[in-house]
Amino acid sequence: MPTREAVLDALSGVRDPELDEPITDLDFVSGLEIEDGAAFVRLRLPTYFCAPNFAYLMVADAKAAVLSVTGIEQAKVVLDDHYASDEINGGVNEHRGFDGAFPKKTEGDDLEELRTTFRRKSFVSRQEQLCRAMLSDGFTPLDLSGMSLQDVPPSQEFETYLERRAELGLDVGPDAPLVVDPDGHRVPKEAVVQHLRFARTVRVSIEGNASLCRGLLATRYGIPEKEEVKQ
């Protein structure tokens, strides 16, 4: 029988697309029951009015993650205490998709464009975190602009950066340049400083938003505010 740890481990691969952190670190997983190859997961969010599109993505991703665990045959994931809980839970568990969950309230290609927008932001933010660490280790912006991925010393920031980069479908080969824009184009050396300057604003925005959401969740549920985990 699959263990609780195995299911939680799979859930830790699900991120809040907006906050760029695992839903397990954010304390969004409020319940997990496993019985005879069936898993039942409860999720909660910082507010009643959290954007339903991100909420839907997390519920759907959580369900897929749980089903990926060997030995889990069935999974049900429900979101509690949200204004659109019924629509989201029905949409995910009855495979109606976001468009089907919110008929006539969407336009175009379901949630993929939204997901890509936030993957790009995550990528930019993680690149800034890596470059900031490297700059404080003594590299110069000029160094960074000339480096390939194979030149980068190993670090946790680098690992995370490569993951986000691969998610966007960008080249992660050893010869690929380190500093590229979200379309994969090398940032010219004269533009690196300003590129990283804007990336910093993206990172500040995401980190701050995550910090606020942690606080709101703690207040909402009367639980201690969970420590921020550096990935």
Binding site: F49, A51, P52, N53, Y83, D99, T106, L111, Q194, A218
Partner: protein
């Protein structure tokens, strides 16, 4: 007015409310959820001594607002931003009808802005004219995530919204306060995206667009459009209270804003009764960047920059007279940074 270390600060609180979310006025579970959500923001980010009970928070009195703003809050002028939410509350949340009597009762203390809803189409234009005639506001507050029947929001560059903005321009309503919320049509797109403000600000160069919450949670998108559009401003509602609960985050926000859009387009706001202005003003006047590498390249925030943010910038938008002794100490000279130009958006 607030005075500290020989410096005087004129205070305009550009975003305040006089709401009624009492159980009697709450229509449905959405109204209940809305005020609970507001309360969590209040309880999470306020110092303990300034945290109210949920009961008081739902509906506070005229005495409370007068006391918290003008007796202990250092506020010279407060701008009431009407938020209707009539699908959630029987008589609305804080409508112009509820707010405006304060303007008349306490001359010089308050301004009140009404709103418009482009989904009312032709009728909305008539209402806008009527409201202007009645209240004479120089600004409107627009909550684009407001529910209305089946609709869960609208965009600033929707055709009917543009017609309403044309009407604003014609009437002389020049300050457009834009408040983004989490639900909007279409529901599968990012509701906090401020691209519609960008397009609209280009179309109406003579109107001022004040983006409330400085675009949070999309600070980066707001900074980006702020560098492109000289008529886009940032209101600090919701960002201000981080100064207590998450001071490093506050320092980053204010540092980024000053770097990208500069000191002339940032406006102080408490979002009262979400938070009370007194402690926000006091902490902001005392504010300095933390002393570590993360903040080493932010320029110092001088008393003159604080004066602009706390009151002078908003006073300029609303033609509020400021006493001579509270004007800039270094009038006429550049005191801070010049707005920067980003290389590329993310």
């Amino acid at each position: 007015m607030y005075e500290k270390d020989g410096e005087k600060y004129f205070v305009v609180d550009e975003h305040i409310h006089f709401w009624d979310a009492s159980p009697e006025n709450t229509t449905n579970k959405y109204g209940e959820g809305f005020i609970k959500c507001f309360y969590d923001y209040h309880a999470n980010l306020s110092p303990d001594e300034y945290t109210w009970s949920f009961e008081k928070y739902r509906k506070y009195s005229e005495e409370d607002i007068m006391h918290d703003l003008f007796e202990v809050g250092h506020v010279d002028v407060g701008i009431l931003q009407s938020t209707y939410l009539t699908d959630f509350y029987d008589n609305g949340f804080n409508t112009i009808e509820r707010n405006h009597p304060l303007v008349e009762k306490y001359p010089g203390k308050f301004l009140s802005n009404f709103g418009f809803d482009p989904r009312n189409e032709e009728k909305g234009l008539e209402m806008l004219e009527r409201d202007f005639e009645k209240y004479g506001s120089k600004g409107v507050k627009l909550y684009t995530a407001e529910w209305k029947g089946e609709s869960h929001g609208w965009k600033l560059d929707d055709p009917w919204s543009l017609k309403h903005l044309e009407k604003c321009e014609e009437l002389g309503i020049k300050n457009i306060h834009v408040h983004k919320g989490p639900t909007i049509w279409p529901l599968n797109k990012d509701a906090f995206d401020v691209a519609d403000v960008d397009r609209t600000a280009t179309l109406f160069p003579d109107l001022n667009f004040i983006v409330e919450h400085v675009g949070l949670p999309r600070l980066e998108d707001f900074c980006w459009i702020g560098t492109q559009e000289p008529n886009v401003y940032g209101g600090l509602a919701v960002a201000m209270p981080f100064i207590h609960a998450k001071p490093r985050y506050f320092a980053q926000i204010i540092g980024e804003l000053l770097y990208w859009i500069g000191e002339d387009r940032i406006l102080f706001a408490s979002d009262y009764a979400l938070w009370q202005p007194g402690w926000l003003v006091e902490k902001f006047v005392d504010f300095q960047y933390p002393e570590d590498a993360e903040f080493s390249d932010y320029a110092e925030i001088t008393p003159d920059i604080k004066r602009k943010i706390l009151g002078l910038n908003a006073a300029a938008l609303y033609d509020i007279e400021v006493p001579e002794e509270m004007q800039l100490a270094t009038a006429g000279s550049a005191t801070g940074q010049i707005a920067a130009e980003p290389a590329s958006p993310a």
